[in-house]
Amino acid sequence: MGKTLFDKLWEKHVVSGEEGEPQLIYVDLHLVHEVTSPQAFEGLRTNNRTVRRPDRTFATMDHNVPTKDIFNIKDQISRKQIETLRANCKEFGLRLADMGNEDQGIVHVIGPQLGLTQPGEIVVCGDSHTATHGAFGSIAFGIGTSEVEHVLATQTIWQLKPKTMGIHLYGKLQEGVAAKDIIMALIAQNGVDFGTGYAVEFFGETVKQLSMENRMTICNMAIEGGAKMGMMRPDQTTFDYLKGRKYAPKNMDKAVEYWKQFYTDDVTDYDTVIEFDVSTLAPYVSWGTNPSMAVPVNATLPKITDMNVQRAYDYMDLKPAIKATDIPIQWIFIGSCTNGRLADIQEAARVMKGHHIAENVTAWIVPGSRTVKNEAERLGLDQIFKDAGCEWREPGCSACLAMNPDKIPVGIHCASTTNRNFEGRQGKDARTHLASPAMVAAAAIHGHFIDIRQEEAI
């Protein structure tokens, strides 16, 4: 009996406790943002505690940050939350990528971009999309604020070892089908809780061919299938991505030698396995109010089978049996920790180039970080979007969860490269349709979704 990637990572980090009971696990990297940390710092102060390892903690601001005029936060409570993080970082001696700083951005975009996220690590953050970092061959998961406080104080966390699930991705993606479609299809076919209680590893030929950006998109949405950890074996693509990044090891050879031990010995080592052929996948579009309510773009919307489905149709103001391409799109959003990296922005720009968005559509493009924004501008991508009639904005979480002023108006159908289509997620009574960056860009041009596999023109 061999071991999985997850087992090998886990056993390297156990500080105390036996398997089968909660174990104390060491945390290599703790990422912090403004929304889920103030109460944790307050807890430290109340109990006269310090941050055990400031050198393993890194903070930034992303959820509240305005994407139009970043230095002018009109919402007083948002401003207070931002100022509180700034003050807490100063008091406890933490590194902070502050607003306007070159390194600032969505926490799950900057971790990898700065080389903080590395194979073999345990990474935590008070945010469920921390699963993103698992793409590097690490155990990465979201935690609550009490756990944030615990990690700040002790650099460890109590966890019950989850079961392991291997998801075997094989086959070659068709032109126009993206990593986003793989994870959306998996969730559509297996439900929003198929991964609950599991650490999920994506493996197989398809994974080996994917860029780090695409791998991150898939691991990012593992949580939408219930798995708080999604991960992939680190390989040459991983090592090449990390080389030369600000906080990556200078002596890469030694690190790579260590990282190479992290892989699953045999497929039989997982507690359960899902086989998934990606070669027949179509681009996916969500129609309902959770990520499993999604269909291939060339399909019709499903029948009403229970009160949960009925409720979703009522909220979305849609009807069964219409085609996904018939959904009217009045707004589009490109960005977020799922699809806000340079490769995603490039993919959207490739589709948008030389076109103009439909007359009744508003389009927001929000880079995932300051660096992504700068690099995109260096490549002239901002001009492509502006020429097409889109708004090119400042980096942040923005309309993915609409905590800042970026809200989709009531009743509007928004094609979005984000991760959650919950009721009210992008603004009260806003109607979210999740899809890949290329699909969303094409929807902006046409005012509705199209099957981008068949569109010769783009």
């Binding site: 609550g144 609950t196 919950f422």
Partner: protein, 194 residues
């Protein structure tokens, strides 16, 4: 953390599946830097109509359910965002126990930190509990791992360590800091790449 051993209380059913933490506490209420005061915003978008008045059809607004301490719900309760504000809001409202078909892993952990007991029961049992009248009391006996409802007794599973934590109401950090030597030893032996 408040300890839980044997709890007697009335119920409030909210039987949708996949109730996400965005519904439990919408994002506009996450900007506060305190742990208290979230109860007034619990299920905000379902509780209030567009003009800001309470939705009379929503069960949390029913006068006869106002004192309920036990929430009965569907599968995959608390999915989505990691926001602990969801647990704080449920607790602040006065809820002490949730009985659902399952929980997201992160939400479950947040419950263990806040003295909210997340119980898993099969749908048939939950359907029975959902039919209870507003003033029908049920008993949750954590040491015996039983939910007692009139003539029905339902057993539930819970990890032994979490169970003890609920019964004792202990602060985790204090416990962990006692392991300082082990943590220090771990740090001495871990690989570091410069």
């Amino acid at each position: 953390m408040e300890a839980i051993t044997i709890h007697k209380g009335t119920t409030i059913p909210l039987m949708n599946n996949n109730i996400d933490t965005d519904q439990i506490i919408p994002k506009q209420f996450l900007k506060n830097i305190l742990k208290v005061g979230y109860g007034q915003h619990l299920f905000h978008d379902w509780r209030f109509l567009d003009d800001g008045t309470p939705n009379p059809d929503f069960i949390l607004n029913k006068e006869e359910r106002k004192n309920a301490t036990i929430l009965i719900s569907g599968d995959n309760f608390g999915c989505g965002s990691s926001r602990e504000h969801a647990a704080w809001a449920l607790k602040d409202w006065g809820l002490k126990i949730i009985i659902a078909g399952g929980y997201s892993d992160i939400f479950f952990m947040n419950c263990t930190k806040n003295g909210i007991l997340p119980i898993i029961l099969p749908q048939s049992a939950r359907n029975t509990l959902a039919q209870l009248a507003p003033d029908d009391e049920i008993t949750v006996d954590l040491p015996q791992q039983k939910v007692i409802c009139q003539d029905n007794v339902y057993s539930f599973e819970i990890d032994a360590t979490w169970k003890q934590k609920f019964i004792d109401g202990i602060d985790d950090i204090e416990l962990t800091l006692k392991q300082e030597e082990k943590i220090r030893n771990f740090e001495k032996n871990m690989p570091v790449f410069e």
